[in-house]
């Protein structure tokens, strides 16, 4: 199995707070992997490290075998650093790409609190996400010399929206859609960037069981349809247990368990983290 994404001792420290501590994990091609953990465990921070929103304090992130993000504690942080192995990557070059560069590599994401382009229609939301693949420069774009490319983009948007069952809403404002549809649109928008790896941040947040069930099918569908690898953060355990191939469990920034849904479910440390440790009576 080829590793699509690999995290090697990633640590994210904000001042004295270690949000993610020495996280090492990997996602293989074609897998659906879930990252779970109680609130504040550092799941979204890990996501933000992968997508370039944060610069990890220490560690390396590889995409398809190539290091895309790499850092080691330096300067003031070297003294404050509370994680493990501060010198592991000290000899290597610091890589710190911006989120748009990460997206161009083929890693798309959605957000925990839906972030659609508010003033745009459903159609334009998806169309805008295709901008990054545009080859034409601004002059040929403004003077419509590249109208064929624009037309191809519109065609592709139409296909995508039809497949995602959003075509009938195309001229509506994105924010006027019902909640579940907004989630779906956000995923469609992420798909418009043609990713290989899709990062979903709590895709089922705020959904009822019926919608969650639909979402599970939907994620599996798009995974097969677009040859995706999926890494998701989720709180709905039934969704996580049903669709993920492997699960990583974070607690207080550290990895406490990994494995198949069955293994994780029976892991005592996971149960403790979620339910609390029973005190001796």
């Amino acid at each position: 199995m080829k590793k699509v994404l690999e995290l090697d001792s990633v640590t994210m420290q904000f001042g004295g707070v270690v949000a993610v501590n020495d996280l090492s994990m990997h996602v293989d091609e074609g897998e659906i992997v879930a990252l779970i953990g109680p609130n504040g465990a550092g799941k979204t921070t890990a996501f933000n490290c992968i997508t370039g929103v944060y610069e990890p304090t220490n560690g390396m992130i590889c995409y398809k075998g190539e290091a895309i993000i790499q850092n080691h504690p330096s300067g003031k942080m070297a003294r404050q650093y509370a994680g493990l192995e501060p010198d592991k990557f000290a000899s290597q070059k610091v890589l710190n790409p911006t989120p748009d560069r990460i997206t161009k590599l083929g890693i798309a994401r959605t957000f925990q609190n839906i972030r659609l382009f508010r003033s745009m229609t459903v159609f334009d939301n998806v169309l805008t996400a295709m901008h990054l693949r545009m080859k034409a420069g601004i002059f040929s774009d403004v003077f419509r010399i590249s109208w064929k490319e624009e037309q191809a983009m519109r065609q592709e948007t139409e296909e995508l929206l039809r497949r995602q069952d959003l075509w009938q809403f195309r001229d509506e404002l994105a924010t006027s859609l019902p909640y579940g549809k907004q989630r779906r649109l956000e995923i469609a928008r992420a798909l418009a960037t043609k990713p290989d790896l899709l990062l979903l941040d709590e895709p089922a947040a705020g959904m009822n069981p019926q919608e969650t069930q639909e979402l599970a099918d939907f994620i599996r569908e798009i995974k097969d349809e677009y040859d995706l690898t999926v890494l998701m953060i989720e709180h709905h355990m039934d969704l996580v247990m049903r669709i993920s191939d492997r699960i990583y469990v974070l607690d207080f920034g550290s990895l406490i368990a990994e494995g198949t849904p069955e293994e994780v479910q029976s892991n005592q440390r996971v149960i403790d983290a979620y339910l609390g440790v029973a005190e001796d009576v």
Binding site: T51, V53, T98, P99, D100, T103, K104, A108, R109, F111, R115, L116, F117, R118, S119, M120, D124, L127, T128, A129, M130, H131, L132, R133, M134, A136, I138, D141, V142, F143, R144, E150, M153, R189, A190, A192, T193
Partner: protein, 369 residues
Amino acid sequence: MDREKRNHLIRLFVAIAAVYGLVLVLELTMRPTHMLFTVLKKGAIYSLVAVSMNLLNGFTGLFSLGQAGFMLVGAYTYAIFTMPVEVKASERVYKYYDCIVGFDTGVFVGLLAAGLAAALFAFLIGLPVLRLKSDYLAIATLGFAEIIRAVFQWDVLGPLTNGANLLREFKDLSRITFPFTDIPVPQTFFVFVVCGICILLIVLLINSSFGRAFKAIRDDETAAEAMGINLFMHKELSFVISSFFAGVSGALLAMFQYTVQAQQFRSMLTYEILLIVVIGGIGSISGSCIASFLYIALSEWWLRGLDMGTFLGIHAEHIFRSGFRRLAFSVIIMLIVLFFSRGIMGDKELSWARTSARLRRIFRKKEAV
């Protein structure tokens, strides 16, 4: 393209052509010194700046207040470029300095150079400034605009900018002729054509893929970046393009006023334009255009009587004194802000369907009464 859209476009083109035809006919038949033409010319020039500011504030979400500075760069560049060599050599304009510019160009090269010079300044200023957000960006751009004004008045640059003195005798509106002939171009029509082309370019930009990227940045920077849009590059692009057109409009303003002096481009000018953009509706091109003509017509023409002693036939010299116009104006602006808090147009564009629907509603109400 579906039929409805095409019909809409055809109607739009017919309407615009009608406006241009009307301007041309009026200009050829009426007395050229009539107040109407001053309003039309200045209104068109202000439309262009307002639209360029709207591109930045309304469509890219960058609250910039540097417009006057870039207009100044455009005006000076145009004046220096198109002033004939013999005027530069004589004592008539450069009285205290020896002009170091040894060439002169035509009107179109001058306009283009004005835009490019403003764009170059914007590029350089944008590099540090565009890393700031919201109010801080506004303050920084305002500061840079003032710095530009101060620098252009600087003694050391005198051989280029004539210091704090006037620049004149360049190719202003009265000296434009059709290429290779001596036939003068109708002034108002010329301003309308140049502004129209520039605004058309901005509209094309806004409706292109890059324009959508700008709107994405305005709506949600984080999401835009996650969709692969390079924030800095697109902000810089928007800033440079907006300044290019501000530079062109500065050059047009210079042509309209016959003279250029750095003093004219105070931050007051930026506020005027900001006012037009807000009244017209942030994010509406047609709103900006309508508002700028209204603003200029009110302040230059219709409310003039408030300063001159007689307004609407009422003669009251002790009330309608110089300065009263500003008072009345501020009341009007307050009313607009109170009752049209999103501007005349909101973020919508003027369209036949919407206008006719509104008219129908009004008429129906009247019938019901």
